[in-house]
Structures are given as structure tokens and as C-alpha cells.
Symmetry: C2
Subunit: 204 residues, 2 copies
């Protein structure tokens, strides 16, 4: 095998928002003031993402704490984009960066923004939110629940991950009772029936 079978080097890394998610963007209110509304949105998007086959059962939203402005919504787009790092948090934070035109989502200018996600961030996304400039993360299902239901590996997330965030000035809140397990169970059903892929890096 030689290098000649390879396509040329790409000149960009591009992840398009799928059509269904563009429609969801258009249908999203400009502001979401209540925590319950935010979790209703991310759990609905997570389930829709699984049904559409665009990625895993994960979705997120970035909101401005003061105004309630929705800066971005997004889902895991690994299957849609063929890029393994395109977890919901990376996509949603990335779209917020793109919208604001800044690598810092607010801490550099004293504005508080919150990442709301239906599941605790994996080890990669723990870092992504750290570097993003958000001031808080709110999640529903914890890593152990995600791993138990879906079979995903969440990586070597430190046991004191929430304290690690708080020590760096980022608030952490877990929300219960929002039906976060439904999307996880649906994903597992579709994996077990061969309809969708569990995109583990180990190829298992």
C-alpha cells in the first residue's frame, strides 16, 4: 500500500449542521430562561439525533446566564461528520465560538455562559468545556449511567472532576428527573439491532 491511494490533504475541517438540526435551530426560542426548558430541549435533541442516525444520544445548548439568550444548540455528530471528536459539547461549544467569533465564550469579558448537556461530559469534553470560557455546566445522566446503558467508554474522567471544575471557577450542577435515560436506552436498542454504530475508538 502506498500513499498514492490517499486523497489530497484536506484544506479544511468542516462539520455541517444536518438539515433536521437546522430546522431545530430555527424552531428554538431566542431565549430559554428556565432550567427545565433547557433540559427539555437537550433531551429532545438527543433522542432526535439517535433517530436521525446523525450520532450518539447526546445534545447540548449554550445559554447566557443574564439574558437567557441561546447562543448555540448542537448534538453529537460523529456519524454525520465522520469526525470522532464531534461530541455534542465540542459541536455546541464550537458553534457558539463561531457565532460569537471568539475563542472565549465570556469569561474573558466577564459574561457568564452555561453549557447544558443531557449527560456528564466524557474526558475529552471535560477539557473542551474547560477551555471554552463558559462559567458553568449543567448535566443530567452521569458517566456511570451512560456507560451502563450505552456501552460507551467515557474515558479516565477524574473522580473529582466536578471539584476540578469548581477549583477553576466553573460551577457544576446535576439535574435529576428529566428523562435523560430515554435517549440512552433508545440508542442501545438501535446499536443492538444493528441500525446504528457505537463509535468507540477501539473498533469493538
Amino acid at each position: 500500500m502506498s500513499g498514492s491511494v490517499l486523497a489530497p490533504f484536506p484544506t479544511e475541517l468542516r462539520v455541517g449542521v444536518p438539515d433536521w438540526l437546522r430546522e431545530a435551530q430555527a424552531a428554538t426560542p431566542a431565549q430559554l430562561h428556565d432550567r427545565s426548558e433547557r433540559f427539555a430541549l437537550v433531551t429532545a435533541l438527543a433522542t432526535r439525533n439517535v433517530e436521525e442516525g446523525t450520532g450518539g444520544p447526546f445534545a447540548a445548548v449554550v445559554v447566557d446566564d443574564e439574558t437567557g439568550d441561546v447562543l448555540s444548540i448542537g448534538t453529537n455528530l460523529v456519524l454525520h461528520s465522520d469526525v470522532a471528536s464531534m461530541h455534542a459539547e465540542v459541536v455546541t461549544l464550537g458553534l457558539a465560538h463561531a457565532r460569537l467569533g471568539s475563542w472565549n465564550l465570556g469569561r474573558d469579558v466577564g459574561r457568564r455562559r452555561t453549557l447544558v448537556v443531557n449527560a456528564q461530559p466524557c474526558v475529552m469534553c471535560l477539557g473542551a468545556l474547560l477551555w471554552s470560557g463558559v462559567s458553568a455546566v449543567e448535566y443530567a445522566a452521569d458517566c456511570a449511567t451512560v456507560e451502563r446503558i450505552t456501552g460507551f467508554d467515557e474515558g479516565p474522567v477524574p473522580e473529582d472532576w466536578d471539584e476540578q471544575l469548581r477549583a477553576r471557577g466553573i460551577d457544576v450542577h446535576q439535574e435529576h428527573g428529566v428523562g435523560a435515560e430515554d435517549a440512552l436506552h433508545r440508542f442501545r436498542e438501535l446499536v443492538d439491532s444493528g441500525v446504528t454504530a457505537r463509535y468507540n475508538g477501539d473498533g469493538a
Copy 2:
């Protein structure tokens, strides 16, 4: 402040390869068989990235262990793209995914690919390489060195990060004596003189 000042939701997350890096892509041999060549490339790219102002002092390459094929080269593009997650590993792995059209860089089909990077991955990039499907990572400067010289926070990287990778079937090798600290020192000089930004999420 209302939502009306915001631009519309982006329809894509797009990170273009800067012109200078396109030229570097064109100048890169199709194959790099020796470890020393690979580290010479990433240390040179890391320094160039700092001088160009496109991001931090970090660069990476993904190679095929059997053929030596260079699947991708890349650098930290946080400043170029305004997207905080665009560390060298995320960019370079992402470009390899885009080139191959697959969210798995080889483990799913039994091909071994290696990520070579001038510095130990931060907590985010530790996860990114885990999910990418590479079979090995080779690095030069460790996190403590990066933090000491540059002032960056590398996040809560587990002390046993290398064992965590090996337990998941990913080899880890640290290379010494490749001049990896030069790019880090140059970055620090440019930060201290106000020429470039240390893009910490905390805005400090």
C-alpha cells in the same frame, strides 16, 4: 441586551487550514518512516505556528505504522479559527478523519496509526486520541514542562494517563532530545511581550 444582537445560528463548524500550513502540507513527504523525521516535523510546525500567530506552540502528525504514509499534519489553530477546542491533536486527528472519510483511524479495520505530537496531550486531547482509533501516541514535552514554560493549564490529566491508554490498547512513547522546549519558550516570549494571546478559558 437582547438576542437580536446575535448573528444567526451558524450552519457549519468550519476550520480552514491557514495558507502557510497548506504550503507545509504540500512540502511534506508522502511517507515519514523515521521517528526522528516525525519529531523534526512537529517541532518545526509548532514553532512556525507561533511565529504565524495562528495558535499555540503545538503541532501533530498522524502516520500509518506499516507504510509510513502521512495521513495528516496540523497545528493548534485556536487563534486562527476562534474555536477553543482546536488544539493540535483535535485538528490533526480531524483532518485525518476527513481525509479517510471515517470516524475511526484504523483500529476498526486492524490498521495501526500513530499520533505524533510535540507535547503531551491536555485532558481534552487525551480523550480525542482515545476516541480517534489510533493505536499509539508519541510525544516529547510532558504536561509539567508545558505548564511551567507557557503558563497554560493542561487540565486534570490523570497521573496514570499513559496506563489508562495502554489499558485500552494504545501504546505510549515519550521521545527526548528533540528540542521540544524551543517552541514553548518562543510562545512564552510572545505572550509576555503582548504579541500573542495565551488562550486560557479562564480569561486570565
